[in-house]
């Protein structure tokens, strides 16, 4: 028995379509490309630091986002951001299906651009099919060659555009083309050029169908009230199935009499599909909900003079004659979670300290007896100046009567903008007989210029094991 365990890929040549959803997708695409390619070039005035609005400076561990400078210690903000992104995905997918896949995913956006280039060079779908079947000649080499060249160009622009977020854009571009940029820049740009070309040019729907984990787990979030792009089978098929508009089946009345549905089986919805499926077969794993088949079918219905919506955004409930319910525990829960996490993130960003201070007590040994009878504990006070000015700091110990602070011979603690340092501190205290094993105390860090509010960090003094 010869049965293949592997199947060859069926080439897809999507036809172009115009309509509401195509316009929406184009709008999103232009916006996304505009932001992605132009953002690194936006200049921004800062007292210290680069003049680029968005810059992720890896070697110095500074991440500039407009007026916000993010440090590695703020990594939990990234966790918050990722949580919001995940919850948003769950929330939106539960309500409106694979919106991310259809409108926002990089794979969809870049594939869209690559298909646009392909169509400009090789022509509309029939021309492309003809070209693909035709033997190799000058025309085919020229057209396919220039298509791939244009893809590579866009892919390279993408790679270079991404790299610009990690360095000063104008200087980096100059360095890149004079061979003076860091290896990481060439490797990143090269890898992204390669992956963009491969995924958006060659692999396309294979990425969504076989590689993407989001595609698979989004289906878990669907329920009967989720908006899906669907073919109205009852209307389209009638009782006798779909039929082409032959002479006897031209008007709706004729068709309804014959039991034939509104689908004239023109195949336009199949031809425009970027993943090569037939939406009339029902909801399928390959469907990325780009809604181009809706535009296609609407165009046909308009032409026939029949109502739109044979293929439309609907839900299983609605298709079965019920109502689509959006207000459910699941959606409200995800919505609430998003609001809570986003609120906490905003609060955390707005309320972040200008100075990071953390005190760690030296634990080996916890305490030591001194010759004057006092007990001494040692501390390492890590300070990180998050402001854009230099800080002249004073450290004091408060909250414990009789405790004295010893900073050795260090008298001046000046931190330049975004500088970190560790201050070695010792606290001496004459214990009374009824003192507990540990006493709480606080280190008070004050700004000698008086601009920053005093910062108190709690710690403890150990007297006995």
């Amino acid at each position: 028995m010869s049965q293949s365990l592997f199947e060859a890929r069926v080439p897809i040549h999507p036809r172009s379509v115009s309509g509401r959803f195509r316009n929406l997708k184009t709008g999103i695409l232009l916006l996304a490309y505009g932001v992605f390619f132009l953002l690194p070039w936006l200049r921004w005035e800062r007292e210290t630091g680069p003049s680029q609005a968005v810059l992720f400076d890896i070697p110095n561990r500074h991440f500039y986002l407009f007026d916000l400078v993010v440090y590695p210690q703020d990594i939990f903000w990234l966790a918050g951001l990722l949580m919001i992104a995940a919850l948003l995905l769950f929330f939106v997918t539960g309500i409106a299906g694979r919106v991310f896949c259809g409108y926002f995913c990089f794979q969809t956006l870049w594939t869209d651009v690559f298909m646009f280039l392909e169509r400009r060079i090789q022509g509309e779908r029939p021309a492309r099919i003809r070209l693909s079947k035709q033997p190799w000649n000058a025309e085919k080499i020229l057209k396919l060659g220039s298509t791939h060249a244009s893809w590579l160009l866009v892919a390279f622009a993408t790679g270079l555009g991404f790299v610009l977020y990690w360095g000063d854009a104008p200087a980096l571009v100059r360095a890149f083309f004079t061979g003076e940029a860091a290896n990481a820049a060439y490797i990143t740009a090269g890898l992204l050029t390669l992956t963009t070309y491969t995924f958006a040019g060659l692999a396309r729907e294979q990425v969504c169908t076989y590689m993407c984990p989001y595609a698979r787990f989004q289906s878990v979030m669907f329920d009967q009230d989720t908006l899906i792009v669907s073919y109205d089978e009852a209307r389209g098929e009638g009782s006798a199935g779909r039929a082409k508009p032959t002479r006897d089946l031209k008007t709706r009345e004729q068709r309804q009499q014959a039991g034939v549905g509104d689908c004239i089986d023109c195949g336009y919805c199949v031809q425009v599909c970027p993943t090569g499926i037939d939406i009339r077969d029902g909801l399928q794993i390959e469907c990325i909900h780009c809604a181009l088949c809706v535009d296609a079918c609407d165009a046909i219905m308009d032409k026939q003079g029949w109502p739109r919506g044979l293929i439309r955004y609907t839900s299983e409930s609605a298709l079965e004659g019920g109502k689509t319910r959006f207000l459910k525990l699941k959606t409200v829960g995800y919505g609430t979670a998003i609001v809570v996490v986003a609120g906490l993130l905003v609060l955390s960003v707005l309320g972040r300290a200008e100075l990071d201070a953390s005190v760690s007590q030296v634990r080996q040994p916890l305490f030591v007896q001194m010759s004057d009878g006092s007990t001494q504990n040692s501390y390492e006070i890590a300070l990180n100046n998050k402001t854009q000015r230099s800080l002249d700091l004073d450290i004091d110990v408060v909250g414990l009567e009789g405790a004295t602070l010893d900073l050795g011979r260090v008298e001046e603690i000046v931190l330049e903008p975004s500088q970190r340092t560790t201050v070695l501190a010792r606290v001496r205290y004459h214990p009374a007989h009824d003192d507990p094993t540990r006493l709480p105390l606080q280190f008070e860090i004050t700004d000698r210029d008086g601009i920053m509010d005093p910062l108190r960090v709690g710690s403890q003094l150990s007297l006995r094991p």
């Binding site: 592997f6 195949g267 030591v368 001046e412």
Partner: protein
Amino acid sequence: MSTNDKPANERPRKKPDEVETTGHIWDASLQEYNNPLPRWWLWGFYATVVFAVVYWILFPAWPIGDGFTKGLNTITFEQDGEEVTTHWNTRSLLARDMQTGTHAVRQREMLETVGAMEYDEILADVDAMSFVNAYAKGSYGTWCAACHQTGGAGVMAQYPNLRDDNWHWGGTVEQIEETLVLGRLGYMPGYRETLNSEQLEQVAAYVLSLNGYEMDEESVSAGGDIFTGELGGCFQCHGMDAAGIASQGAPNLTNDLWGLVDVPGAADDAERVARVSSFVHEGVQRVMPAFADRLSPTEIKVLTAYVHSLGGGQ
């Protein structure tokens, strides 16, 4: 638009319940579905095979006898002042990174900066001390922690505590540096032949009384005579006031800090007296090794500042 174009996707359309099977049937109804993988997936597999072969050629891979294939990749780094080139391996990678990596270079620059500073400057500079603290933890761990323990607290009756202000040889940076460079020989003779057990207990009572312990007055007074007189001669090293003499390596005996006799661990006065008198009976000899030929002057400087900062620098 034309309605006659056949759909490009000519995959035979299957109804959801029609899945291709391999034809195998067990137990009358158990079937094996065939959902073929895309062919490029197979190429992906071949690509990993090619990758593996390239990897074998470039990197150490196959065991052969008691050796292994070394691969074509090499690493060049410095070892004991000589340039060494070996086959690629992570140990050499680490060695090279610790010599030429960006952080290694920055550390070396900082080390040179601190090495060129005077002690007064280092101790007063918060950033220099921050570096000293970070850098010296490594060399302290290598050279000092075996005796003085990781945190510098030492071991009772064996190795001195570096965290308190009880110095045998002095706690100024100059004295600490001298201790590190030249090493120290600490010696206190045993009095087993000089003093009888009653006299030993009297000396012990005297020393304990200096530290605030209530002792029998007669013993204290007799012990004081031995301590400050010709018989014991303890004053020659510890001083008439028993406050210690750093040049002799003789500790202060009046501050109730005990490094060699575990007085804090004794239950009562009798045990304290017993412990001190037994110590005077035995005497002690201790060695701090010299590090002049093992550590560079800069490393000694950093370690000195570190020890000074541990808690009792003078």
